[in-house]
């Protein structure tokens, strides 16, 4: 980054006039800097003044950021204080647009948005209790991230989510899905509700189909998953979260151990195929199969109390396949079906743990 870019970055978004002035000043500093190299004393003075200018710029940028954060916090607090029906009705306008809904669709939209609103309040409250954040701060952070991912955002393509941002959004998304799963506890019931919500939101600003948009998946790219190294991905991402009772150090050791010791059974007694088996697979389907086998074999290592999924469909491997397909843009089927499959592929307790660990 050049000195000019760095300085403009410090100033952040501001009026054209200020930018023009800063650009002029930095150019002058750069020229003076070059010229002063011929005399040590002059060079030192330029250096000092430039450092002071940068320091003062930084202070102002920090001050500006504080003003923005405070405004977001205050507005978030005020919105959280609004009654449920007021918030839900406002969200409804964004979600369904001008569509005239029949009673069945309208009812589901109200219920789903009611859950979304309740999740928003719950997440902010938990951040106050568990992370000592001020009320409204967490809401502001999530709203900012969601706004960046708004399909209408002109700068969507430039949005580069940091690792923590991805985790925060996934945590919030999973929390919402868990609450929806509690509202519609049978898969068929969940699927019906999502189908009606999907239909109702077709003409709205926030269409549910965006969930399957490869552009969105791109923002959440997980390299391990992208390469279909589901086993490795399980170790690095999912396992520490689902892991009950192990610390990061154990996981690091296990990660080192598994690929090297192909035939050696880890403490669970399961034989673990090496990651090389995945990369050596002949085609994509074979890679997926090897990755799932790997993930399944590793699962008992991390879930100390295995959960019976009998009443909830398949297992963690199913979730990994759905996520891998979403990331690769290969996901087939309706959006609401994909969401239902994803939500019912893992036990609610594990989804909750996932959300809490990622938050």
């Amino acid at each position: 980054m050049s000195i000019l870019d760095k300085t403009l970055d410090f100033f952040g978004d501001t009026s054209e006039k200020v930018v023009e002035n800063v650009v002029g000043l930095v150019e002058r500093f750069s020229n003076a800097w070059e010229a002063s190299k011929q005399g040590t004393s002059r060079f030192d003075k330029i250096k000092f003044f430039f450092a002071a200018f940068m320091a003062e710029s930084e202070e102002l940028t920090k001050e500006e950021q504080e003003v923005k954060d405070k405004a977001s916090e205050e507005v978030g607090k005020q919105l959280l204080a609004m009654p449920d029906d007021q918030l839900t009705s406002s969200l409804k306008t964004s979600v369904v647009g001008d569509a005239q809904l029949d009673a069945k669709h309208a009812g589901v939209v109200d219920e789903v948005l009611g859950v979304a609103t309740a999740t928003w309040r719950q997440a902010d409250k938990e951040a106050v209790e568990n992370k000592k954040k001020k009320p409204g701060v967490y809401s502001g952070e999530i709203a900012k991230l969601l706004s960046a991912l708004d399909p209408a955002n002109k700068e969507f393509n430039e949005v580069d989510l940091g690792f923590d941002d991805k985790l925060k959004l996934i945590s919030f998304g999973v929390k919402t899905l868990v609450n929806l799963k509690k509202e519609y506890s049978e898969k068929s019931e969940f699927l019906d509700a999502m189908k009606l919500f999907h239909e109702a939101s077709k003409g709205g600003k926030y269409n549910l189909d965006f969930f399957k948009d490869p552009k969105l998946a791109e923002k959440f790219k997980v390299s391990g998953l992208q390469k279909l190294s589901a086993g490795k991905w399980l170790l690095t991402t999912i396992s520490p979260i689902l892991n009950k009772g192990r610390d990061e150090k154990d996981l690091v050791n296990i990660m080192d151990y598994i690929p090297a010791e192909d035939d050696k059974a880890p403490e669970s007694g399961n034989k673990v195929p090496a990651l090389s088996e995945i990369s050596a697979a002949a085609n994509q389907d074979a890679k997926v199969a090897a990755a799932v086998k790997h993930a399944e074999a590793l699962k008992p290592l991390f879930i100390n109390t295995p959960v019976e999924y009998a009443d909830e469909g398949p297992s963690l491997s199913k979730m990994l396949i759905i996520l891998a397909d979403l990331q690769a843009g290969k996901s087939t089927g309706d959006t609401h079906t994909v969401i239902a499959d994803l939500v019912f592929s893992v036990h609610t307790d594990d989804l909750e743990t996932l959300s809490n660990r990622l938050s």
Binding site: S41, V75, Q86, L91, S94, L146
Partner: protein, 115 residues
């Protein structure tokens, strides 16, 4: 549209709050009570005023250093470095040392877990 509502909408356009919040507020505004609108107006107005002050400070900063550069270009021998600038520069150097220390600690931690 009531004047308070149009003022809120004007301030909202200029505000740095996220577009999701802006959307919610725009949809909600017709049904907001006077008290709710009053609180919102106070928040948005405070943000706007503070941002204006910061813009003024930025312009003053540019003028201040522009003036110093004028003097340096004229005759650098006559320009003294104020004590506060020396303090600021030394603070920056101390900050750099702290960063190195943190990086070292991280590297030690990695070694401890065998990575």
């Amino acid at each position: 549209m009531s004047s308070i509502r149009s003022v809120i909408l004007g301030l909202l356009d200029q505000s740095s709050v996220s577009s999701i919040y802006k959307g919610i507020i725009r949809n909600m505004l017709p049904n907001m009570s006077e008290i709710q609108m009053g609180s919102l107006l106070a928040t948005l107005n405070s943000e706007s005023t503070k941002k204006q002050i910061i813009t003024t400070k930025k312009n003053m900063l540019v003028q201040k250093y522009g003036f110093i550069l004028d003097k340096l270009e004229e005759n650098s021998e006559q320009v003294e470095i104020p004590y506060e600038y020396i303090v600021k520069a030394s603070k920056k150097k101390r900050g750099a040392k702290t960063t190195t220390k943190t990086s070292t600690s991280l590297s030690d931690l990695r070694k401890q877990v065998g990575r």
